[in-house]
């Protein structure tokens, strides 16, 4: 029964938040100059954006990889007390594989910057 209330409140909240902008915001005046990128006020020097050097995206991928790996450490740390030895072995294997991946990336020069 109280499920209905939960859905009701969440739904209302969602609708309210979505419509808040339309309700309170001022009238938007969209002009072509407003759309153009802000380059300290001076006219842009070239049309469009050239391709970004690859090294930026490479660093991002590697970071994402190891960031997700760290997420799995948290539940492991909580439950470590009960399953002492097995938890350690499992986590070592898990971290070992990822460390191997990291060493591979390092040797391949993914982290070399300039």
């Amino acid at each position: 029964m109280e499920l209905v209330f939960v859905f009701l409140i969440v739904g209302l909240l969602g609708v309210l938040l979505l419509s808040m902008n339309a309700l309170l915001g001022p009238r938007r005046r969209v002009t072509p100059v407003k759309q153009s990128p802000f380059e300290c006020g001076s006219p842009p020097l070239q049309e469009g954006m050239p391709s970004f050097p690859l090294k930026y995206s490479l660093v991002a991928f590697i970071f994402l990889l190891f960031d997700v790996e760290v997420v799995f450490f948290f539940p492991w740390a909580l439950v470590f007390k009960e399953m002492r030895a097995t938890a350690l072995v499992v986590m070592l294997a898990y971290a070992g594989i990822l460390a191997a991946g990291f060493a591979y990336a390092w040797k391949k020069g993914a982290l070399k910057w300039d």
Binding site: P26, R27, V33, S36
Partner: protein, 164 residues
């Protein structure tokens, strides 16, 4: 069609004054500094005279995040298009303060190179005379701007387009 509740004068005026109150104490300003008034702006913005007491503390150097364009110093002919672009790239609602005699009216530079006043390039809300104006005059102009912000009413999206 009949007078729906949103159109009722009472509702919009309270909403306007509430919005005005909320806006006037947290104005993010973009210091468009070019010349000598910049020195006086520095002393006005820093610890001694401190515009942060009035809520103008946050200097944003991008027009996207600022409500107030503080035009400080002389605007030359070559600078006019830059100023116009920066003004148009600001989000509504936006205000402009002309800081110093050169921004107000070209000041002592009445020659081929200087625009005689910023209001020839963009609409200006508050003018601060003085070359350079004393920091107290700057604080006074901020208070005047706050009164103006309190009184400007919001052009609501759901309201019929009253003005052009």
């Amino acid at each position: 069609m009949g007078l729906n509740p949103f159109q009722a004068a009472w509702f919009t005026t309270t909403l306007n004054s509430m919005l005005g109150w909320g806006r006037k104490y947290s104005v993010f300003h973009y210091p468009y500094v070019t010349a000598c008034c910049g020195m006086e702006y520095m002393s006005a913005a820093c610890a001694h005279f401190d515009i942060d007491r009035f809520g103008f503390g946050w200097t944003r150097f991008t027009p996207r995040q600022s409500d107030l364009l503080l035009v400080v110093g002389t605007i030359c002919q070559k600078q006019a298009p830059i100023l116009r672009t920066v003004y148009e790239q600001m989000c509504e609602p936006k205000w402009v303060i002309a800081f110093g005699a050169c921004a107000v009216s070209g000041g002592i530079y009445d020659n081929y190179a200087v625009v005689q006043g910023v209001d020839r390039v963009i609409p200006v809300d508050v003018f601060i005379p003085g070359c350079p104006p004393r920091p107290e005059m700057v604080l006074d102009s901020l208070v005047k701007l706050q009164k103006k912000i309190q009184k400007t009413d919001q052009d609501w999206r759901w309201k019929k387009k009253a003005t052009s």
